[in-house]
């Protein structure tokens, strides 16, 4: 086992501490109300309903997101499906569309979708791109020789998929499903317009009614425990798989399968997925914009002069949070890839615990921590940036791991032997090679921060407003016409982010001409 450089260990320790800080604060707050009060909050009959609702949503949404993600990735990466590059962008785009916009759009479609089915649908169709991205990267890194061997042993396309490809996809697939499952337990934005009661929505309701920190904190402990179970369950299922490719010369690119007669049905499936995931929010937006006439327009035009400052605030917030998250994620990703071991696993996993608290609770805990530990941050824009960076850190870590993991350690060693120090080796070799991952991390955190409502509502300084908070404020007025311009800018930025993400990170590679 190679010794971990002290600087790296310290950096990772600091990041882990920052991630765990809001959790610690929340647990302390839960206990401050006394064990009895916390116990009451947890045992309340309503808590059981909340748990049941959340579980039902997860049980529907997680497999659905997994199936869509894996199927999408396989058809785009491994078949001669027409329009692969376009589909690749379209399948990622839903991830960057703010979930609260999607929520209002689905709610707008009618009552049946405002219940559990709608909630599960929104989660599945907003977050399947996580599975898609991770599985697509894994598919690309797979050695085609294994499939050829399976073919030589007499296996057809179907059995090869289930017996050779799927087992190799397990780490990527489990990682993606884990993120979707964790998200279900803390999701608030996606359910904001629905009539579903989950932990997050109840906590939010409590918060608005006059906040009882200990009650909300006690409820959060549910999601905390479930997150811990999921995290370590996934770690066990995943085992100690080494992603690092031991390269022997140039990697061959896997061949693509022809779809033949199944081309049309597959295309129809893709159209259906895109229609649900992108068509609903975009279509609703167009409808809002089209009907923004008469009385509604008055309030809309009254709101419009907020559009530019809100955009500026949102973009500044998104970019700062993205860069901060990147700084936090880099040491963690490097540590997790280059130095394996039980302690490293615990450290890396602890980063994912930022998914264990509902955004709102984490935001309140951070505000509390700032008011005691760093007063200068309290109520500042900086604290919001910090909160967003911590909140979406897991995505940055996942994106970095995927690319840094494919860089041979031998290259860094060569750099060291040529006189470059650890930092110089990273800057001159690892960083340029991991550029797609660095960019993906920035774009993901940027897009999520843009689409995050709950954290901004708690931590945004009073004199500022973002596209999200303005959308929320306007959507409660007469019609959605007033909210539409904000949603339009948000979705526009989201689609640009998705496009950058796909062209730089998820590029569909074609076999080189011989």
């Amino acid at each position: 086992m190679t010794r971990i450089p002290r600087g790296l260990a310290v950096a990772c320790g600091v990041v882990a501490f920052l991630v765990l800080l809001p959790i610690g604060v929340t647990v302390v707050q839960a206990l401050q109300g006394g064990f009895a009060a916390a116990g009451d909050a947890i045992r309340a009959p309503s808590s059981l309903t909340l748990l049941k609702n959340t579980l039902v949503i997860a049980v529907i949404a997680v497999p659905l997101a997994g199936a869509i993600g894996v199927a999408g990735a396989w058809f785009i990466e491994r078949t001669r499906l027409p329009g692969r590059r376009v589909w690749a962008v379209l399948l990622v785009a839903p991830l960057t569309v703010p979930p609260f916009v999607t929520s209002y759009a689905w709610a707008n479609l009618g009552n049946p979708l405002q219940g559990l089915v709608g909630a599960a649908g929104i989660v599945a169709f907003s977050y399947f791109p996580i599975v898609y991205l991770l599985v697509a990267v894994a598919l690309r890194g797979m050695d085609p020789a294994l499939e050829e061997t399976a073919q030589s042993l007499g296996l057809g396309t179907g059995p090869i998929f289930f017996r050779v490809i799927l087992p190799q996809l397990r780490p990527a697939l489990l990682g993606g499903l884990l993120l979707v499952a964790l998200d279900t337990f803390i999701e608030y934005d996606a359910f904001v317009a629905l009539k579903v009661r989950t932990f997050s929505s109840d906590i939010y309701a409590q918060y608005q009614l006059g906040f009882s920190a200990s009650g909300a904190a006690a409820l959060s402990c549910f999601s905390l425990v479930i997150s811990l179970l999921l995290l370590f369950g996934e770690a066990r299922l995943r085992g100690n798989v080494n992603y690092t490719r031991v390269s022997q010369g140039a990697r061959r690119i896997a061949p693509r399968y022809g779809l033949g007669k199944t081309t049309l049905p597959v295309l129809a499936g893709f159209v259906a997925i895109v229609a649900v995931s992108l068509g609903i929010p975009l279509g609703t937006l167009v409808k809002w914009l089209a009907t923004s006439s008469g009385t509604a327009l008055d309030s809309a035009s009254a709101n419009l002069h907020y559009l530019w400052p809100a955009t500026l605030t949102s973009v500044t917030l998104g970019l700062s949070a993205a860069l901060l998250a990147l700084m936090f994620a880099l040491p963690i990703a490097v540590l997790a890839i280059r130095y394996r071991g039980p302690r490293v696993t615990v450290l890396e996993r602890s980063v994912y615990l930022s998914f264990a608290l509902p955004d709102l609770v984490a935001a309140i805990a951070l505000a509390y921590a700032a008011s005691h530990l760093a007063r200068f941050l309290y109520g500042s824009f900086g604290l919001l940036v910090f909160a967003e960076a911590i909140l979406f850190l897991p995505f940055a870590v996942v994106a970095l791991r995927a690319t840094i993991g494919q860089i041979e350690p031998g290259l860094e060693e060569s750099a060291r032997s040529l006189g470059a120090g650890p930092l110089a080796a990273f800057m001159r070799v690892t960083a340029p090679l991991a550029r797609p991952g660095l960019l993906a991390a920035i774009v993901l955190v940027f897009a999520f921060t843009l689409g995050d409502l709950a954290t901004a509502q708690v931590l945004l300084p009073l004199n500022l407003y973002t596209l999200g908070t303005e959308f929320q404020a306007s959507s409660s007025s007469v019609a959605f016409a007033a909210a539409a311009p904000f949603a339009a800018v948000l979705i526009g930025l989201a689609l640009i982010a998705a496009w950058v993400l796909m062209t730089r990170f998820g590029e569909v590679r074609e076999p080189a001409e011989e």
Partner: protein, 346 residues
Amino acid sequence: MAELICTGIAKSFGDRPVLVDLDLTVPTGTLTAILGASGSGKTTLLRVVMGFVPADGGIVRVGSEIVVDAGQSFVPPHRRGIGYVAQEGALFPHLTVAGNVAFGLPRSERRTAARIAEVLALVGLDRSYADRRPHELSGGEQRRVGLARALAPRPHIVLLDEPFSGLDPSLRTETREAVVRALAAEETTAVLVTHDQSEALSTGREVAVLRAGRLVQTASPEVLYRDPIDLDVARFVGEAVVLAGTARSRLVECALGTLPARGTAVDGPVHVLIRPEQIRFAAGHGEGVLAEVVGSSYHGPDTLVRLALPGGSETTIAARTFDQDVPAKGERVPLVVEGTVAVYAR
């Protein structure tokens, strides 16, 4: 340029010892080849010297500077002035050939192409390679660029880890010669590890045999081949014919007759080491020991003929002949041994 001195190097992974009390001295400006089977600890030794792996114990000295003491690697890899050529070359895929070669140069020298062109010429590559990308190079060219990159910052020592593995035989010879020439031209102290005896014997001023984490013999290629320290080393560095015999006053009696023995006199029962090329087919009749041909393998310039000695002895021996007329299977031929033989007490 500096000498490399390793004393008492020890390293284990878990409870599996990989290097055991290992001593190695590489004189300034020479190349020492370390020959070992896979798993013998060759790569680990290089990585300890390089500083990629901390040793459990021992001292590594580059010239007068101690870089590892009592296992503590207190000089980090990038300050040791040791160049490293990794197994597959490990060229940076995001840089051109020139970018790779210039990587270790100080910033001021990176822009001037002088040193880049110089080291590329040294490894026998044309200036026109400078703008190519690593994936546009053949395997042999990649290894040469890897060496040029290691030589460019004028390191005290260069370590080469199986630098010719995976190359086809003709390319291997060509690349090997280019590498040895370049190292000699720069008068660089070099350590090359390999599992291929002919590679070790043809490149090293000295060859050190690594077995189970210990250097069992360090000697010039000729001494190593002719007078290996024991029969294991004898078999490892080349095809060996080992016969039982009895030695008396510098003569040894064995199944191939009475032969002159080399080295310190041993009396009594011995093993006799004969190299196949020492065994010749006798021209005249009535000369030599008759043996029956049981098979042969043709290598082009030479053929290795397997023979069974008379008297029901189970050992078959091998004779290397450079004659294109090889006796057929089943034929009985007279054998004579040329030169002196090495003996080992039984």
